[in-house]
Every structure is written in structure tokens, then in C-alpha cells.
Symmetry: C2
Subunit: 344 residues, 2 copies
């Protein structure tokens, strides 16, 4: 069941803008879903949206209160409960990205039941999945993979969704992390699924579709990350991508949270193809996305040019230089212009 | 906290011997822990143990009632609850391999609390884990990997534990599945862990140890199984094995539960080394274990001989021909005779 929009963004009284990073991501990618923000006294974050009370938001058509902020330890502060209960009483659903489950608070559970409202805890998966089958499904699929965690995998698929839709492709972002689920309104926080069901959850997330349809699946972790590679492999097998984009951050000196060096882009391409062939023998790399934020424009262009030449693939920074080259490559490789007959 | 032994084996009223497969496995590998069996009227399984009442078992020193049977759907039948409550009242802990959690039954939860007894649901992990770090730990580790699920990975490490201990090695079986947890008294059902913590759970399971100590870690699934490869990869990274044994069933025509063909033993060796190097650059294959049950003795020997020659590794059927060749190879490769100084 999707999270219904429009959203009222609840920021509580978080101490800085960083604590509202998830909420900012939602506003960046779905501004048309975000009617306003609701802040408690002392809040130091601002999404640049109108401040609305719950009745005002309800009157403007809001369907869900989004708790898209991070508090210390991911817990729900007791003094936020009153606002959440008021939203439920006003007829809004509530969706949260905190570790604490909304329904574990008796006052919230009671209000949701009394007013027949939905509670969404996007970090937790209430959904029951089957184990993955690995059977080929119709439709086209693209997955972002990485040399590490937090290198632009979500951003790249969202930019591709925007760019492909602008060029009349039938393309949908498929979320596998909590921010993505808010942005999509549906999805699975794949790292929170029980290990046996990783690939099965992705098969559920990206079902069989029209042959010209593209699912753009958000990658997680890295096949080379010693903490999370199992998640990345189950995600690769469940996604059975036709195409993948390697995402990379060139100034990272070691993998996030551990002491291991980053793999090369070439190693990621090789291992992704080798493992991905299990569920899609035709898997291929369609490009490279590099976060060049730390580089000057000329250095960024030089790096992208050299990377593109080395691998014979388009290389771009989706934020700085857009994703047209990647989309052109997909058209070239798969011959699937919008509305045209599929190649296979 | 380990499950305390000796055990009283509870079989309920299951309809056949197959439903008591887990219990049989415990009796096979830990006969000295299994004092007796408790069966309800109509039970069609028999472990060949004395039938004991709860007071008789308690008198003989039993510490834990083991519910090591499978019922339809893995649920706990209502008419078994009375026996479980009686065991708790008599001062036994209770450990179950059913899907239903013991503590979800109010009568069981109340009896456990009232008598300060432990409840263990080995299919579920109550333990909280850290994410894996991939940092090298002291001690030696061996992992069994497979061309598929259910090809002898647990049996092989248990046979190695028995054989290595007989030759005075300091070696411990480390369980990653529910039957193994009963046999070991501790462990983690790794397929039930939340995806983010697969490798971290294995790091917890097999902590730093004396340099001459061997942890013999039960493998799960296969890097080539489209349903479960993520579990297998996280397990490989967390185990950071020095040595691995490939387990194989030669008559299997496709992978369990899916339509995919089995990989070759050579492919499993290659991919295990390639991925395993991330957390242990010195990883190597130490042998092959083949389940030859469906073959005549001469066919079995011919297959093992050919497999050994092809890969330059010892190949055995641990059930039929023992594991001495595998242990000899470990001695050769690692030079770690019991009590000797480590090679590295």
C-alpha cells in the first residue's frame, strides 16, 4: 500500500538542517507533493516550505504527515507524540523514518485505530516476501551499483527517472532505502529485510512490466563492502538488471565505516557482470556516475573524460552535467525509444 | 547465552520420522546430551532414546526441553502447550525450532517468567548485532560452501569437528542454521538475521581466538543460488575463512527450489576465492565433499578420484569415507599441528 500524498513535513524541534536531510531529499525530488512544513518551537531546520498547522494542511488536501528527520539514536521524542496523534485525529496517515516504530507508542496506536489511519515505518518492513525465484521478468531494468556506500546511487536513478520521463520514456524509480521510499511513496528498505528474503523483496518491488517499461532500481552498498555486500548481491540477483550504472566518489580514501580501500570501477564492472549473469545473462554496464563535488570544473571534466575513455562508457556527474549521455547510451544499447517495439 | 544440556527431546505427536529430522540430527551428533524422548499419544517418530516423563528427565539432570520437530506450517499446536508449560514449571528451559515464537503464547510466557526459565527460538535471533567490520581476527577459520543448498555443508563441518578433535586439534563447530544451533548449544540462524547484519552476526559468532584454534563454520546456500546468494556472501565475508571446503551433490539436476542449473565445482572455487579475498586475502580451497549416497561404491570412488585429480584437492564423501584426507590437507597447508606454534 503506497504512502498517500500530498505530504505535510514534520520537522519536530531538530537542532540543525542536517537532521532534516531525508525531508530535504523529499522536497528536492517531489516538491509538488510537499504542501508545507510543521515545526515545533526551537526547530532549527527549514525546508523553505510554508509553515502550516495540521488543520491548515488538512484543508489544503494533505494526506500524510511525514516524520522525515533524524533524532539522536533514531528514537521518537515523547514531546512529538502529541503532534502525531493530532495529525491522526485530523484524518492524516503518518509515515516515519525513525528506528522507533510509531505503533509501539500506545497513544499513537490507539489514535490510528480509532481514526482508521495508516502508520508507515519505512525503516521496517511489515510486508511478508517470498524467497527470490530468479525467473526472468518482462520489462527493462536498470540498477545503480557502487564502489562504496553513499556515492550517489539514489541520486543517479532519480535523475535518470526525471530525464527519461522528460524524453517520454515510461520509467519508474524503485526505492530500496528509506529516503527513497518517501520519495516514491512505496518501496522497501532492503537492508531491513530478513536475510533470506533480500532477492525476493526486490522481485516484489520490481514486478513484470510492459516490455518498453524501465524500472530504475536504487542500489545499496557495494559488492566490495565487507559489511553490506550480501545486501548488494541479493539486490543484484533480485533486480536482474539489463543495465547497470557504476557510481563512484573519487576523493574517498577508504570504504565508509571500515578500513578497506575502494575497489576500482573496473573491478566493480567485472564482478557485477559475473554475479549478475546468474539472473540476467545479458547484463551490461551502461555508464559511470561520479560525484565530482570536491573537484574544480576543469578537473571534473578531465576525470570524466579519462574515465569514459578507459572504460568505453559514458561518464558523467549527474548533478553537475546531467544524465543525457547515460540516456543516449540506453537508447543506443537497447533501441527502446518510447512507444517503439522492444528489441527482444 | 547457550542452550544448556542435557536435553529432553519433545516430539509431540508428529505423524512420521521425517518431521523429527532436526531432533534426529541432534541425537546423531550429540548423543551424550540427549537423555530421553517425550512423546504424546499418536506420535509416529522415534529417536531410539528412552521414553521419559518430565519428572524422570528432571531427576536424571535434564536442563532443556527441545522442540526439535516440524509441524505443518511451523506452528505450535495448541495441545503441545500444556507439556511445554509443565517442563517450565519443573525447572527446564525450552528451546524450539518452530516458526511460532514460544513467548507469543501467553501461557508459555507466563510460566517462563514465573519460574525464571529461558525460552529459545532458534529460528529467530533476539541478539542485536553490529554491522560487520571485515577486520582480520586471530585464530583459524574454515567455512563450508556449496554448489547448492542442502548438499552437506553442516554434516561436513560436524564431521571435521569430530575428526579434528580426535586428532587433538582445538576445533569448534560454529552453527549458522537452526539444527546446528541445537547441536552446538549456541549459534545464529543466519538466514533469519536482518540483511544489514549478516556479516556482523558471523563476526560475533566466530570471535578472535587462539592462533592455533580452528572455527569450523557451517555454510548456508550458495553464491550461485538466486534466492540466497546474499546470505552466502555475507557469511563468507564475516567468516573470513583461511580455508573452505566445497560441498556438492552430483545427482542434483537443478538448484533447490528454482530452475537454475548447478554451477561447477570450479566456478564455486573461483568465485569464493574472488569474493572471500576481500576479508581474507589468503583464502584457499582445502578440499571437496561430495554426497555420493546415490552412487555405487565403485562409482563413488571413481567420481571422487576424478574430482580430486581435476582440482588438485582432496575429495571425499564425509559420511562414506571419512574426513581424514581433508584434515591431512589442513595440516599440510597450514602447518598447524595441535599445540604447535602458528605458521603466521
Amino acid at each position: 500500500m503506497p504512502i498517500e500524498h500530498p505530504y505535510l513535513m514534520f520537522l519536530g524541534d531538530v537542532p540543525d538542517q542536517l537532521a532534516a536531510k531525508t525531508a530535504s531529499g523529499i522536497v528536492d525530488w517531489r516538491p509538488e507533493w510537499c504542501l508545507g512544513q510543521l515545526r515545533l518551537p526551537g526547530c532549527r531546520a527549514d525546508l523553505g516550505l510554508p509553515d502550516l498547522t495540521i488543520p491548515e494542511a488538512k484543508h489544503k488536501g494533505a494526506r500524510t504527515l511525514i516524520v522525515g528527520v533524524v533524532n539522536a539514536g533514531g528514537v521518537l521524542p515523547a514531546h512529538w507524540i502529541e503532534t502525531i496523534v493530532a495529525a491522526l485525529e485530523a484524518g492524516l496517515d503518518v509515515a516515519s523514518g525513525l528506528h522507533t516504530r510509531l505503533g509501539d507508542q500506545p497513544a499513537i496506536a490507539q489514535a490510528a485505530a480509532a481514526h482508521s489511519r495508516q502508520l508507515f515505518d519505512v525503516r521496517h518492513s511489515g510486508q511478508r516476501f517470498a524467497t527470490g525465484k530468479g525467473t526472468k521478468r518482462s520489462g527493462r531494468r536498470l540498477l545503480t551499483v557502487g564502489t562504496d556506500c553513499s556515492v550517489g546511487k539514489k541520486y543517479t536513478v532519480l535523475a535518470l527517472e526525471r530525464g527519461m520521463r522528460a524524453r517520454s520514456f515510461d520509467a519508474d524509480f524503485r526505492a530500496t532505502g528509506q529516503t527513497g521510499v518517501f520519495i516514491s511513496g512505496r518501496g522497501v528498505a532492503i537492508d531491513a529485510v530478513v536475510a533470506d528474503f533480500i532477492s525476493g523483496a526486490v522481485e516484489w518491488l520490481s514486478p513484470a512490466a510492459d516490455p518498453t517499461h524501465w524500472d530504475l532500481i536504487e542500489g545499496q552498498g557495494s559488492l566490495f563492502h565487507p559489511s553490506f555486500a550480501g545486501v548488494s548481491l541479493g539486490l543484484l540477483h533480485g533486480a536482474q538488471p539489463d543495465a547497470f550504472i557504476v557510481c563512484h566518489e573519487p576523493t574517498r580514501t577508504h570504504m565508509r565505516g571500515v578500513e578497506h580501500p575502494l575497489p576500482s570501477i573496473g573491478e566493480v564492472i567485472d564482478l557485477t557482470i559475473r554475479c549478475g549473469r546468474l539472473t540476467n545473462p545479458a547484463i551490461r554496464c551502461a555508464g559511470i556516475a561520479i560525484n565530482t563535488q570536491a573537484l574544480s570544473e576543469s578537473d571534473a571534466k578531465a576525470l570524466l573524460g579519462a574515465t569514459s575513455a578507459e572504460h568505453g562508457l559514458p561518464a558523467t556527474d549527474p548533478v553537475r552535467f546531467g544524465v543525457d549521455d547515460l540516456i543516449d547510451r540506453l537508447v543506443e544499447e537497447f533501441g527502446l525509444l518510447p512507444g517503439s517495439a522492444p528489441a527482444a
